[in-house]
């Protein structure tokens, strides 16, 4: 404690002459940092109302409320988060789980009020762009920082070189571990349920799968889908398109999850344990044993109706059986699920074509209700010269014959025309039947193809040569009347006004030729309603293009007691829509028949 010590503190007095470092708020402003966490702002257009923010909030400050004037539709709801600043702790976790990145915390940090409970100026409000502007700095999310599980478990596939030679399944299926991890990615927002035509309880069964409770999962599947494993293999998975994780990352593979869970249960009937249906003494005829027909049969049977399926072929399953190649949908899966439905006491009349073996009038007379689920089994033709050549065939025919075990003869070089799923199936089936080179001609670009991306990729991987923006104009025959070559023109894409998709226009002077020996048409299918007598057909109301039957909300056509579903009703033309229609019609028939009593 020297005398020096006494004077040392006085060095502090030098600050008397210094400029203070005080920020003279509110006259001076202090600029908040870039990623400061202030009040919320939400881009209401971008927000899809999934409610992840409400679920993550540790303070329960966020509540989803219904809002007018926001876009509604596929993959979104009209609910928007409402934040209560009497709860919020500004942690920003809500931002980190926002799948769209629409929610952010702004750099506005000052809010003083006398009455926080006031509805106008209060602390409970729906954050939008107006109160705190969305633009500017703040706490935002990105795929790296998001708490969502954006990475998915890739479904293992067989090597393309190996798989293209046989009809064994392409996918290897999930291991249990991968399936559980994949299922655990679900945030439970239920947006996917909107995507599903039949409205399956997706978050619910994913949750059951995540707990490895497959029996409960199956229980949930059968609420509105009696063919879960088939769907779990070949569904067009609109749910995955709607999945919120798909916005920033990869969606959950809901389809395979379902397939996996269903495959873990061998005996559905035992697991489901549905009670024996009571006898109702009402008969329902179902024309066509496809997915729609089977679904309708299943739910009608559960309700106690006597159901008879009239199937033109000697197998059940419709397009699932004859349209989809076995490498995509194994026979064992089909057998398991169809047999399960038949087991409930559904009567099936094989090889019975309505209109030929039994007349429609007869059915109308003998049965209380009829469900038509005949599907699209008639292929369309292009109408170009040389179509009568040998070696030109319809993809529908080609696939059907292959699936029924009598594959038609094809040459070494095969041209498939079309860009849909059927075209993909045809190319890949042709590969498996021994074609050395398979070409695929499509008049638009590859991105415009209606086939699903994964089928396109798989086909490409297997060596199918894609020829986009080409249009066959003539099939050249050789002396024996066989296909020798196909002459085609290149097309160009002409943009269309009004946001319509661009139209392909042939470029007249670019005419070339491919040397092929087989041509398969896969440019579309049409219903074959020839089984209906003229008198009935007149009564049947069709839509403006004449392709689809119009049904009401119960699935009933304009003819009383006749219901319809599947491809002939809806334009989506996939299994899950058929199932949805079948389920709807079953409900409708039940309602119709109960009402008649």
């Amino acid at each position: 404690m020297a005398i020096k010590n006494f004077f040392e503190p006085f060095t502090a007095l030098k600050h008397l002459g210094m400029k203070p470092h005080t920020i003279r708020l509110p006259y001076e402003k202090k600029v908040p940092a870039d990623r400061v966490r202030g009040f919320h702002s939400n881009d209401l257009e971008k927000c899809i109302g999934c409610g992840n923010c409400a679920q993550i909030c540790t303070c329960q400050a966020i509540k989803m409320v219904e809002v007018e004037d926001v876009p509604d539709g596929f993959g979104r709801t009209k609910f928007r988060p409402q934040v209560d600043y009497g709860r919020c702790s500004f942690c920003g976790q809500c931002v980190d789980v926002c799948p769209t990145g629409s929610l952010k915390l702004t750099d506005k940090i000052v809010w003083v009020t006398e009455d926080p409970f006031d509805p106008e100026t209060g602390w409970v409000f729906i954050p939008d762009n107006k109160k705190f502007p969305y633009e500017g700095k703040g706490w935002t999310t990105s795929p790296e920082t998001s708490l969502l599980q954006l990475e998915r478990q890739e479904m293992p596939e067989r090597d393309p070189e190996e798989r293209k030679h046989d009809f064994g399944p392409v996918i290897k299926g999930f291991t249990e571990e991968a399936a559980l991890i994949e299922a655990s990615r679900c945030m439970g927002c239920a947006i996917c349920m909107q995507g599903c035509p039949t409205g399956m309880y997706i978050p619910h069964y994913l949750n059951a799968i995540e707990h490895a409770d497959y029996e409960r999962a199956v229980d949930i599947f059968f609420i509105n889908n009696p063919l879960p494993e088939i769907c779990g293999t070949i569904c067009t998975h609109r749910c995955e398109d709607a999945c919120v994780l798909g916005i920033m990352g990869k969606p959950i593979q809901i389809r395979y999850e379902k397939g996996f869970a269903a495959s873990q249960v061998d005996d559905y009937r035992k697991v489901l344990g549905y009670p024996e249906p009571e006898k109702k003494n009402k008969k329902v005829a179902i024309i066509g044993g496809g997915p729609g027909g089977l679904t309708a049969a299943f739910y009608l049977r559960l309700k106690g109706y006597d159901v008879t399926i009239f199937e033109a072929l000697d197998v059940l399953g419709g397009m699932m059986k004859v349209g989809i190649p076995r490498y995509r949908l194994p026979q064992s899966v089909l057998d398991k699920e169809i047999n399960h439905i038949i087991d409930y006491g559904v009567e099936v009349k094989y090889n019975t074509r309505v209109g030929k073996d039994v007349s429609f009038d007869e059915l109308k007379k003998n049965y209380d209700a009829i469900y038509i689920g005949v599907g699209y089994h008639k292929g369309l033709s292009m109408g170009i010269p040389g179509e009568d050549a040998e070696g030109v065939m319809q993809a529908i025919y080609f696939l059907r014959e292959t699936n029924l075990g009598r594959p038609p003869k094809i040459g070494k070089k095969v041209l498939v025309v079309g860009g849909g799923d059927v075209a993909m199936d045809a190319t890949r089936t042709a590969l498996r039947l021994g074609a050395e080179e398979v070409l695929l001609s499509y008049r638009r670009r590859i991105v415009d193809m209606p086939a699903s991306d994964e089928e396109k990729h798989e086909a490409m991987a297997e060596g199918v040569k894609f020829l986009p923006q080409t249009l066959p104009i003539e099939i050249v025959k050789d002396e024996q009347g066989k296909v020798k070559a196909v002459r085609y023109v290149k097309t160009k894409m002409v943009p269309q006004p009004g946001g319509k998709r661009p139209k392909p226009v042939p470029i007249e002077d670019e005419v070339y030729e491919w040397d092929v020996d087989t041509v398969i048409y896969a440019i579309g299918q049409a219903p074959d309603l020839s089984f209906l007598p003229e008198s009935w057909l007149e009564k049947l109301e069709l839509d403006s293009r004449g392709k689809h039957i119009v049904v009401d909300e119960n699935g009933m056509t304009s003819i009383e007691g006749v219901f319809a579903g599947g491809d002939i009703v809806n334009p989506r033309a996939d299994v899950i829509s058929a199932i949805a229609d079948g389920r709807k019609a079953a409900e409708g028939i039940h309602k119709y028949l109960s009402g008649k009593e």
Partner: protein, 372 residues
């Protein structure tokens, strides 16, 4: 008169919770005779929110915004502890970069906590210039925190699996500037506080505790090091990447208030050095290894005790999981639980009334971590 104006008499009174000389919301019941304290009884509980209960009600990830509130002046050790415990239970790997960032955050937090501490103890002794300077300078560090984490005090930055955001652009340079500034100011602080004869007179030899007594009574952290015992969780039970960092653990032998303040002062310098090392050596790479879905993530059953060296002493979490989506039990062992109840009750006996508040500040008692 009923003896009211007698100067020497026994009386009981409360210091706190509403009293300027108390570190937070806390109170001590004193029984004094004249100016000498005969008996002290700490009364915590004014800040009890039932954290441990609340954490059992929330998912693993949802607890991240909660834990930092357990110790208000030095929140980051809580976040890191919770994350470390959960990671150990779940077997979650933390990316290298995240570990270095965590060290940086912890040390930045230590600097700011020590700055408030020095301000606090000087303020308790009436040297109001010191808190004004230090709290003001600490604010520059809080600005850096704001840039890094988005908030000034409750950073909510460390999350199981890493940290929530990477360093912003240009952050390292600005942090270096701030550190240089604080380092420069340390001389001023030393001259104002530690060279001050009155400060020395007030603190040297006051509030002493015996080293052996200190160990047996659960004194930890800087308070223990002020008794000449070189005990530091960063070295004894290394976590994160502290075993790769060179730093000294200062010790003092005075065992009194002065030593305790001095230790903190020296640790500020050490922490500045550590942060600089981190800035130099931090590897590039990912900063977050995402844990599972926040609503579904289940941590395998088990229990774990993790500890870090906070600015106040050893902070520990005992976390139990039963394999569910929520913790089964989290027990928070704050350093103030011992410092704030038992140690202060013992230290105060025989001291003057005037020294109550400085002793309390010198132990760096943080009431929220007693109450939880």
């Amino acid at each position: 008169m009923n003896g009211k104006n007698e100067i020497i008499r026994e009386f009981e009174y409360f210091i706190g919770p509403q009293h300027p000389g108390i570190t937070g919301n806390f109170s001590i019941k004193l029984k004094a005779k004249g100016d000498v304290i005969l008996e002290a009884e700490a009364r915590p509980g004014y800040l009890h929110r039932g954290f441990e209960k609340l954490m059992e009600q929330r998912h693993w990830i949802k607890n991240v915004p909660m834990v930092c509130r357990i110790c208000v002046p030095d929140p980051d050790p809580n976040e890191v502890l919770y994350a470390m415990g959960v990671e150990e239970l779940a077997g979650l790997e933390v990316p290298e970069r995240a570990q270095w960032i965590r060290v940086m955050v912890l040390e930045m937090s230590r600097i700011q906590a020590h700055l408030s501490y020095l301000g606090g103890i000087s303020g308790a002794l009436g040297l109001y210039t010191a808190p004004q300077w230090m709290t003001g300078d600490r604010d520059y560090l809080l600005d850096r925190f704001e840039e890094l984490t988005g908030a000034r005090v409750y950073h909510i930055y460390t999350t199981p699996g890493g940290v929530r955001r990477d360093l912003p652009e240009g952050f390292e340079d600005r942090l270096r500037e701030t550190l240089d500034y604080i380092e420069k100011r340390l001389t001023d602080y030393y001259r104002l506080i530690f060279d001050n004869p009155v400060f020395q007179k007030r603190t040297i030899g006051v509030g002493t505790m015996d080293p052996d007594w200190a160990i047996e009574n659960g004194v930890t952290g800087p308070n223990l090091r002020a008794c000449g015992i070189k005990a530091d969780v960063r070295i004894d039970d290394p976590y994160l990447v502290y075993d790769q960092i060179e730093f000294e653990v200062p010790t003092e032998t005075g065992c009194d208030m002065f030593s305790r303040a001095m230790i903190r002062f020296q640790e500020i310098q050490q922490s500045i050095n550590i942060v600089r090392q981190v800035l130099d050596r931090m590897p590039k790479g990912p900063f977050l290894n995402k844990p599972g879905n926040p609503l579904m993530w289940r941590v395998p059953a088990g229990d774990v005790y993790v500890r870090v060296e906070s600015s106040k002493g050893e902070f520990g979490y005992y976390i139990v999981s039963d394999g569910g989506v929520k913790p089964y039990r989290v027990h928070v062992r704050g350093p103030s639980m011992t410092h704030g109840i038992h140690v202060i009750e013992t230290l105060l006996v025989g001291q003057r009334v005037a020294d109550v508040s400085p002793i309390m500040f010198s132990l760096d008692i943080c009431p929220p971590d007693i109450d939880r």
